[in-house]
């Protein structure tokens, strides 16, 4: 199977190279109009078919690796290092991306899937798709070359083949790890598609904004995958690492966050181009930057440039990525300089207080946030290079610099949707903003009265202060968005005679993109409320004998026993804790600690009881070697569940925004009006 896999990769590389060369030649011939013996259109089609065949080949290679994992073929070094016989089936799949070579193969395979779908749907716009397909082939050539020559997944083990493998990293033996990396990679790899379209459209001087509309769906789906990937990673860190948190500003976390920020900026600024024909160059560079940041993220993850807890995939392929990034950047700059006149657009702003301006400031804040994170991530390297001292840039830096920027962004999330395009009037501002402003100050007062004061034990507490601002802004933004829904739904309700809920549904269906976007904003607000809860985290730690008790918040934990278990994969020891509230037993928790046999590495399995107001989070830290009794650490983490609930809302909003809108006429047909429209404003609906 190793030979089959290696051969499949070589075939895939050859096909991708043919796709790139034949596609480039054909597009060049079409552009220059030179007469040739072979029709350039036919040549371009052979390139497209080679791309499809390349997908089959890279799929075969991925299949070969998965097959080898399940067959326990330890003659392959990668399988020997990342799997073992007792590894459960689901985790054998995740062995595919648990190491350097496998994860690069996953990348190439996902790129192949995206390319396959792109090439199958080429009739949407044959020429633009040919450009995009050729550029995708160029990216695929790079990854397949790395797989064939720098990080071969099918390299054979030299020496005596062991009976069993080293096993999968225990940190990865958790259900979310079966879906978190593929989600994240779908996001990373997916940005290749809008990048390819943007570069292709620039190369061919594509007229109009159609390419933006074509890539919109791709970009949103990709953004959604990246978002889900990041949040799954957060949840994994929360549930597995046992430190009570979910985001540690680790360089690898930062690496996934940066393209998310620029991708989000792109999703907003692209509307300026669609509606006003503005910011064409800006949008092209945003998507170029996003793609380059996905490569940078991969470089940081793999090359060991910065210290990170994600050390399981470090290697020496950094030079390959640096070279590729330089090539990509050079191609982008060259193409832009050559074709920049095509991107010239007339920029008209009627007012500083308008939707256009809010998008500009939104982009400004998102990009500054991206810069701050990039700066913080790379500063240790810069410091070492300049003054010879490596410094740590950890959570205190980001909390002080990035959190205020994030709060400003939250403010814009509320303000932006309330501003109309072009210009507004003082009356309009007052009408739209008075309720959100009242909600903001009311929340501040309620929080202060409830005890969320920006001081703690007499000293200024930065965390509490940020939490107060976050709560107030969140309520204000939620009020603003809700009022937008209610205003529109009220008009439709009066027009159709249906109730307000039906009005909201019809309003949303008439413009899924806008109102789906608003729902995404509501999701963000819910997430921010959850994040702000971290300011009030508390924890206690104690050694617990049988019937010993530990109190935290309203809960009392009583140890009723501790025991051991074992299976082929790991030995475990865990405590049984009865949890009381108000003197009544509520439930039982059993935090666990495992030691995996193949790797002889320990792993924490946290017990979490989640309710909307907080998570009771209990860690079995091990046993005291002197007394033999278990050490239990309990956290009470307020509002964490809101983060995951916010993600669900965000996903729903994004999916809704992907659904085509109904025209007002169609919507009216679907829900017949009970009474004649009485709202004079709607007579102008066709204006």
């Amino acid at each position: 199977m190793a030979a089959f896999g290696s051969f499949a990769l070589l075939i895939a590389l050859a096909l991708a190279a043919y796709n790139l060369l034949a596609g480039a030649i054909a597009l060049r011939l079409i552009a220059t109009g030179q007469p040739t013996a072979v029709s350039p259109e036919r040549l371009a089609d052979t390139a497209r078919r080679a791309g499809i065949a390349g997908f089959v080949a890279v799929t075969a290679a991925a299949f070969a690796l998965v097959w080898s994992v399940f067959a326990n073929d330890f003659s392959i070094t990668y399988i020997m290092e990342h799997s073992n016989r007792a590894l459960p089936g689901a985790y054998k799949f995740s062995a595919l991306w648990s190491g350097q070579e496998g994860s690069l193969l996953l990348w190439a395979w996902l790129l192949g899937i995206y390319g396959f779908v792109l090439r199958l749907t080429h009739k949407t716009d044959v020429k633009l798709y040919a450009y995009a397909g050729t550029i995708m082939a160029g990216i695929q050539v790079f990854f397949l070359a790395v797989l064939c020559f720098a990080a071969p997944p099918f390299a054979l083990y030299t020496g005596q083949i062991p009976d069993d493998g080293n096993g999968l990293n225990p940190l990865l033996q958790y259900p979310e790890m079966v879906i978190h990396p593929p989600m994240l990679y779908l996001g990373y790899v997916g940005f290749s598609v809008p990048f390819a379209f943007a570069l292709g459209a620039l190369m061919m001087r594509y007229p109009g904004e159609k390419w933006i509309k074509i890539t919109r769906g791709w970009t949103m789906v990709t953004w959604l995958f990246l978002t889900c990937g990041i949040f799954l990673g957060m949840h994994w860190a929360y549930a597995v690492l046992g430190w009570g948190g979910y985001w540690g500003w680790d360089p690898v976390e930062n690496a996934s966050f940066m393209p998310w920020l620029t991708g989000t900026a792109f999703l907003h600024s692209v509307m300026m181009q669609e509606k006003k024909g503005m910011m064409k160059s800006w949008n092209v560079w945003l998507i170029f930057s996003t793609f380059l940041l996905t490569l940078l993220g991969t470089l940081l993850t793999r090359a060991g440039l910065v210290s990170s807890v994600h050390a399981f995939a470090q290697s020496s392929i950094g030079n390959w990525f640096v070279a590729f990034m330089v090539i990509v950047l050079a191609v982008c700059i060259f193409t832009y300089v050559l074709q920049r006149k095509h991107l010239q657009s007339e920029h008209h702003l009627e007012s500083l207080v308008s939707r256009e301006s809010s998008f500009l400031f939104n982009n400004l804040v998102l990009l500054v946030a991206c810069f701050v994170i990039l700066w913080g991530t790379l500063f240790p390297i810069l410091s070492e290079y300049v003054v010879g001292n490596k410094v740590t840039v950890g959570a205190p830096f980001y909390n002080r610099v990035a959190v205020p920027i994030g709060l400003f962004l939250l403010f814009l999330t509320g303000v932006g949707p309330l501003l109309p395009w072009r210009a507004t009037s003082f009356r309009s501002i007052r009408r739209n903003f008075v309720v959100p402003v009242i909600a903001l100050w009311a929340t501040v007062i309620v929080c202060l009265v409830a005890g969320d004061t920006p001081w703690h034990d007499g000293a200024f507490d930065q965390g509490n202060f940020y939490a107060l601002v976050a709560f107030a802004l969140s309520v204000s933004v939620f009020t603003a968005i809700l009022s937008e829904f209610l205003r529109g739904a009220g008009v439709i309700s009066r027009q159709t005679g249906r109730n307000l809920l039906v009005g909201i549904w019809l309003l949303t269906r008439r413009n899924t993109r806008r109102y789906g976007g608003y729902i995404v904003h509501i999701g963000v607000v819910i997430i921010v409320i959850g994040l702000a809860g971290a300011a009030f985290n508390r924890n206690v730690e104690s050694e617990l004998g049988v019937h010993d008790k530990l109190a935290i918040g309203p809960y009392t934990l009583e140890c009723v026993g501790f025991t051991q278990d074992s299976n082929l994969n790991y030995n475990s020891e865990y405590a049984l804790l009865d949890v009381y509230r108000g003197g009544k037993k509520q439930f039982q928790m059993s935090p666990e600690k495992r030691v995996y046999l193949a790797s002889d590495q320990p792993q924490t399995m946290v017990a979490i009881h989640s309710v909307p107001s907080w998570d009771l989070y209990v860690v079995y830290e091990g046993t005291n070697p002197d007394t033999g009794q278990p050490i239990i650490k309990a956290f009470l983490n307020p509002l964490v569940g809101w983060i995951w609930a916010g993600l669900v809302v965000l996903v729903f909003g994004t999916l809704l925004a992907l659904v085509p809108s109904l025209s007002p006429a169609t919507a009216a047909l679907r829900v017949p009006a009970k009474s004649a429209p009485a709202e004079p404003a709607l007579k102008g609906g066709s204006l």
Binding site: G242, M271, E274, E346, V391, P396, F397, R427, S428
Partner: protein, 169 residues
């Protein structure tokens, strides 16, 4: 117009009053320094290589964090200032023990750059908006007579916004 200015002034004064009230609340009681251990524990890294803050290191049997926490407690009890304590730890364990760059020398660049970039970007955006606004007024005056009437323009905006007739955000 005069009414609008009066109302604007009223809202501004209300906003100022709220801000003042909250500021007064904020200033109450901000005198003691009882949470210094917690605060400093989150400004130092554990040196065992776990990449966690000293205040959050949760390794059972961690060879470093227990001793370092005791050292921190002793330093606070000895009446040392935050700066002295951080300097002492940096001198003993190296500057990588500090969880964030210091405010001196090249480290200062780490703190200044984000705000400098933010300021420059804000200025650049403001200039851009101004330029685009000026360009518009010189190049293409409003030709739609209806748009010259603020009431009419607002009515159209309302229609557009509430019916979603032109799609988009």
């Amino acid at each position: 117009m005069k009414n609008a200015v009066t109302r604007f002034s009223f809202w501004m004064k209300s906003l100022q009053a709220c801000t003042l009230a909250v500021a007064v609340c904020f200033s109450l009681g901000a005198t003691d320094a009882g949470s210094r251990f917690n605060d400093l524990g989150h400004r130092l890294m554990c040196t065992c290589g776990c990449a966690q803050l000293l205040g959050e290191c949760n390794h059972v049997g961690c060879p470093e964090s227990g001793r370092e926490r005791e050292e921190l407690k002793s330093a606070i009890a000895a009446g040392k200032s935050d700066k002295e304590i951080l300097n002492w730890f940096a001198a003993k364990y190296g500057v990588t023990m500090l969880a964030a760059p210091t405010g001196h020398g090249f480290d200062l660049v780490a703190w200044i750059a984000p705000f400098a970039v933010f300021g420059a970007a804000l200025l650049g955006t403001a200039l851009l908006v101004r330029r685009w606004s000026v360009g518009k007024s010189l190049a293409s005056p409003v030709t739609d007579a209806a748009m010259e009437d603020p009431e009419e323009r607002e009515r159209r905006e309302k229609i557009r916004r509430e019916t979603g007739s032109d799609g988009g955000y």
